[in-house]
C-alpha cells in the first residue's frame, strides 16, 4: 500500500506553470515568517511557513524533476516526508498575509490552494474533519446536514423577501442555520430602507468555499455553476453578501468554474449600507456605548482588495461602524492588509482545531491590548472562531457583526423566529431597550452537534 502511494506522482494537475516558477521565486527573505499567524502560535514548527513549504516542495519535485533525477532516475517520494509536508500545508489558514508581504510577489493563497488538490489526489490530504466536506456538500448542499427547504426558516413572517429581482442577498449557510441573527438583521435593515431584494431560498447552495480551500474540488463546479445559474435565472444585477467567505468565493472562485457570461456584480453588504448611510437614508435611534475594534476578515479584505479595491475591502466596514452613535472605535495594531487571521480559514478550524483556537486567542489578545470591549467583523466564521478563542481565554470581549450593530442601533426588531435550528444558535447578540443596547451571549444549546464546525 505504502509502495503504491510513494509511486504516485507529486503533481497530477492544478498547478500552473507560472506557479511552479513562483516556488523557485522565493528568495528566502523570511518576511512571511514574521507575519504568519499560525507560525506565531506554533514557533516550533517553521515548516508551516511559506518559505519552508516552498523549499519542501522544491525538494519533493527535485526527486523526479532535477538534473540528478534525469540522469540517474527519479527517487520515490518518502511517505514520512509527504505526511509532514501535508500536515504543514494544511496548517495554513490561507489568510494571504504572506502574499501581501512577499518580496517576490508570490500569490501564495493561490499557490497553497493549487498544491492541496495534488495532495488530495495522492491520498495524503485533506486532514481531520475536512474529508467530510465533499460528502456533506454533495448530499445536503450545505455543511450542517440541514434541509435545503429550511434555508429561509429564520426569515420573520412580516419581512418582505422576493423570489426574483435585480438585487439579491446571498445569506450563506451559516447565517441560514447557525448565526441567524445576522440574516434577520440583514433582512430587517433592507426592509427598513425600502430596498427590494430577493433570496434564492432552497436554490441557494453552499458557496463551497471549504472545498476550494482544502483542495477538494470535485463538487465545487456543481455548486458554482448552480448558484450562478440560479442568480442569473432570478434576474440578478447585484448580489449582496454579509458573509466574507461566500463573497470571496462568489467573486473570485465561482467565475473560474463558469464558462458563460455572469451578468451581476458581487458586493459586500457593508459597501451597500455605506452608500445608504452617505445618502442619509439610515436613521439611528439607539447609541451603542461600547469600545469597538474591527477584525478584517481575510476573505473580505486581503483576498478582495485587488479585485474590488482597498476602499471596499477595508474602509467600508469601518465607515459603517463609525457611523453608529455612541461607538468608540480603535483599530488593532495589525489591521487592514496586514491584519492577523482569526485562524478559522483554509479549513483549519475543521482540520486542525487546536491551531485555529490558538490563532483566535492571539487575535483576541490583540483586541485586549487596545482595551476593546467588542470585536466587530463581517465574517460569521471569524466570529465563530473568535468566540471560541474568547471563551477559552476567558476574555470578556464580545463579538458582533456590523449588520447586527446597525440593526440594533436603528431600533429594528431582530428577534429570530422559532425554527428547527434555534437550538444551534451560538453568538453574542445585542439586546436593545428603547434607549440602550446591551451585548449578551447566547450559549449554544446543543454543543458538538455539528460534524463540521467550520466550513471556510
Amino acid at each position: 500500500m505504502a509502495d503504491q502511494k510513494s509511486s504516485k506522482p507529486l503533481m497530477s494537475g492544478y498547478l500552473m506553470s507560472t506557479q511552479l516558477m513562483e516556488v523557485d521565486g522565493c528568495n528566502r527573505c523570511q518576511e512571511c515568517m514574521k507575519w504568519c499567524p499560525t507560525f506565531a502560535v506554533r514557533p516550533d514548527r517553521p515548516g508551516i511557513t511559506p518559505m519552508y513549504k516552498n523549499a519542501r516542495w522544491r525538494e519533493l519535485m527535485a526527486k523526479s524533476h532535477s538534473l540528478r533525477a534525469k540522469i540517474f532516475g527519479p527517487k520515490p517520494l518518502n511517505d514520512d516526508e509527504m505526511k509532514q509536508f501535508t500536515e504543514d500545508t494544511y496548517s495554513c489558514t490561507t489568510c494571504g498575509v504572506c502574499g501581501t508581504v512577499c518580496e517576490a510577489g508570490i500569490k501564495t493563497v493561490e499557490l497553497w490552494e493549487a498544491m492541496r488538490p495534488n495532495l488530495v489526489k495522492r491520498g495524503d490530504g485533506p486532514v481531520g474533519k475536512q474529508s467530510f466536506f465533499p460528502k456533506l456538500l454533495g448530499g445536503d448542499r450545505n455543511p450542517y446536514m440541514a434541509k435545503q427547504e429550511e434555508r429561509l426558516c429564520w426569515v420573520p413572517k412580516d419581512a418582505k423577501v422576493d423570489e426574483s429581482g435585480e438585487l439579491f442577498y446571498f445569506a450563506g449557510c451559516t447565517a441560514a442555520y447557525r448565526q441567524q441573527a445576522l440574516g434577520v438583521a440583514t433582512v430587517r435593515i433592507l426592509n427598513n430602507l425600502n430596498v427590494d431584494f430577493a433570496m434564492l431560498g432552497k436554490n441557494e447552495w453552499c458557496c463551497a468555499s471549504a472545498l476550494v480551500r482544502t483542495g477538494q474540488r470535485e463538487i465545487m463546479a456543481e455548486h458554482a455553476v448552480h448558484n450562478i445559474d440560479a442568480l442569473k435565472d432570478g434576474g440578478a444585477k447585484n448580489v449582496l453578501f454579509a458573509c466574507a467567505g461566500c463573497l470571496r468565493n462568489a467573486a473570485i472562485d465561482w467565475p473560474m468554474w463558469y464558462e458563460g457570461y455572469i451578468p451581476y456584480e458581487t458586493m459586500p453588504l457593508s459597501v451597500f449600507l455605506r452608500e445608504k448611510i452617505r445618502k442619509g437614508e439610515v436613521k439611528y435611534k439607539i447609541p451603542l456605548n461600547y469600545r469597538f475594534t474591527y477584525h478584517d476578515p481575510c476573505h473580505n479584505g486581503r483576498h478582495l482588495m485587488h479585485l474590488k479595491g482597498k476602499d471596499w475591502a477595508f474602509e467600508a466596514p469601518r465607515d459603517c461602524i463609525q457611523s453608529i452613535p455612541g461607538v468608540k472605535f480603535q483599530d488593532m495594531v495589525r489591521n487592514r492588509a496586514l491584519q492577523r487571521c482569526c485562524g478559522a480559514g483554509g479549513g483549519v478550524k475543521a482540520g486542525v482545531p487546536d491551531l485555529a483556537m490558538d490563532c483566535a486567542m492571539a487575535r483576541v489578545q490583540d483586541a485586549t491590548e487596545i482595551q476593546a470591549e467588542v470585536i466587530a467583523s463581517t465574517c460569521p466564521f471569524c466570529r465563530l472562531n473568535l468566540i471560541d478563542g474568547r471563551n477559552t481565554a476567558k476574555s470578556p470581549i464580545k463579538m458582533v457583526d456590523i449588520v447586527e450593530m446597525m440593526a440594533a442601533s436603528m431600533g429594528l426588531d431582530t428577534t429570530i423566529p422559532e425554527n428547527p435550528y434555534t437550538k444551534f444558535q451560538s453568538q453574542d447578540v445585542l439586546v436593545c431597550a428603547p434607549t440602550e443596547c446591551k451585548l449578551d451571549t447566547v450559549e449554544r444549546k446543543a454543543p458538538g452537534k455539528d460534524l463540521v464546525g467550520e466550513a471556510h
Binding site: 506553470s17 538534473l67 486581503r302
Partner: protein, 250 residues
C-alpha cells in the same frame, strides 16, 4: 583582469567561455522546462512544455496591458518596491547586490569583447580596446564595492540577527558565503595587480596576480553556470519573472 597563466591561452579561454554560457543557457532551459510541467490555466491538466510555459508567462505578465508591465519592470523589478516597503536595510542589501552583480557581469562581458577586439585587432581597434579596458578599472571598483556592501549586509544579518540566523539553511550559508568570497577574491586580485582605485599599490604582488584572478574567475563562473541554474539561486531569474508574471504581486 588577465588570467592567461597556468597554460591558459586566449583560445582556450574563449572555448571555456562558450562552454560556460552553454551550460548556463541549458540550465535556464532546464528550469523553464521544469516549470512548463504545470498547466496553462486554473484547474487545467499538466502540460510539460517549455513553449507553453513561456506563452503562459507572457499571457500573465501582459494581462493588464503594456503600461502595467512597464510599471512593474520599473517599480518592482528595478527599484524593488516591495522590499523597500518591508525593510529598508534589506532593500539596500538587495539593491547593492542586484546592481553590483548585474553591472559586474555586464562589465565582464564588455571586458571579454574588448579582449577579443584587442586579440584579433578587429577593425584596427586593438589599441583603443586596450585603452578602454584600462578605463574599466574604476567602474569595476565602484560596482565591486557596491556588491561588497550588499554581501557584507547579507552575511552580517545571518550572523547577528538571531531570527534570521535560526532560519538560515546550509544552502543559504553556502550561497551567501560564495558571493562574499567571490567579491573579496575579486578585490584582492585587483589589489595584487597594484592599480586599484582605492588602495593603490598597497597590496601589489604582480607575479601571482594572474593566478588569483584565475581563482576569482573560476569561482565566479562556477557560481554563475554550475550553481545559479541548479540551486535556490535560480531566484535571481525566477523572482523578477514572478513579479512580472503576477503584475507586481498582491
Amino acid at each position: 583582469m588577465a588570467f592567461y597563466t597556468l597554460g591558459l591561452t586566449f583560445n582556450l579561454v574563449i572555448f571555456l567561455t562558450v562552454i560556460v554560457l552553454a551550460v548556463w543557457i541549458y540550465g535556464i532551459y532546464f528550469n523553464f522546462k521544469k516549470w512548463g510541467l504545470g498547466s496553462t490555466g486554473y484547474h487545467d491538466q499538466l502540460r510539460n512544455s517549455f513553449w507553453l510555459f513561456l506563452a503562459t508567462w507572457i499571457h500573465e505578465a501582459f494581462k493588464d496591458g503594456l503600461w502595467v508591465f512597464l510599471r512593474t519592470v520599473v517599480l518592482d523589478v528595478l527599484l524593488l518596491r516591495r522590499t523597500l516597503a518591508r525593510s529598508p536595510v534589506r532593500w539596500v542589501m538587495h539593491m547593492s547586490m542586484f546592481y553590483g552583480f548585474l553591472a559586474l557581469a555586464a562589465l565582464s562581458g564588455l571586458g571579454l569583447m574588448l579582449d577579443i577586439i584587442e586579440h584579433f585587432n578587429l577593425v584596427g581597434l586593438a589599441h583603443e580596446a586596450e585603452a578602454v579596458k584600462e578605463m574599466l578599472a574604476l567602474p569595476f571598483d565602484i560596482f565591486g564595492y557596491l556588491l561588497l556592501i550588499g554581501a557584507t549586509i547579507a552575511v552580517s544579518r545571518r550572523i547577528f540577527l538571531k531570527f534570521v540566523r535560526d532560519n538560515s539553511s546550509a544552502y543559504d550559508a553556502f550561497l551567501i558565503g560564495a558571493v562574499f568570497l567571490i567579491t573579496v577574491t575579486g578585490f584582492y586580485a585587483e589589489w595584487m595587480r597594484g592599480n586599484s582605485f582605492l588602495v593603490g599599490n598597497a597590496f601589489e604582488y604582480p607575479i601571482y596576480a594572474p593566478h588569483f584572478a584565475l581563482i576569482h574567475t573560476v569561482l565566479a563562473i562556477g557560481l554563475f553556470a554550475l550553481v545559479l541554474p541548479w540551486s535556490k539561486y535560480i531566484h535571481v531569474i525566477a523572482t523578477p519573472m514572478t513579479l512580472l508574471g503576477n503584475r507586481g504581486g498582491e
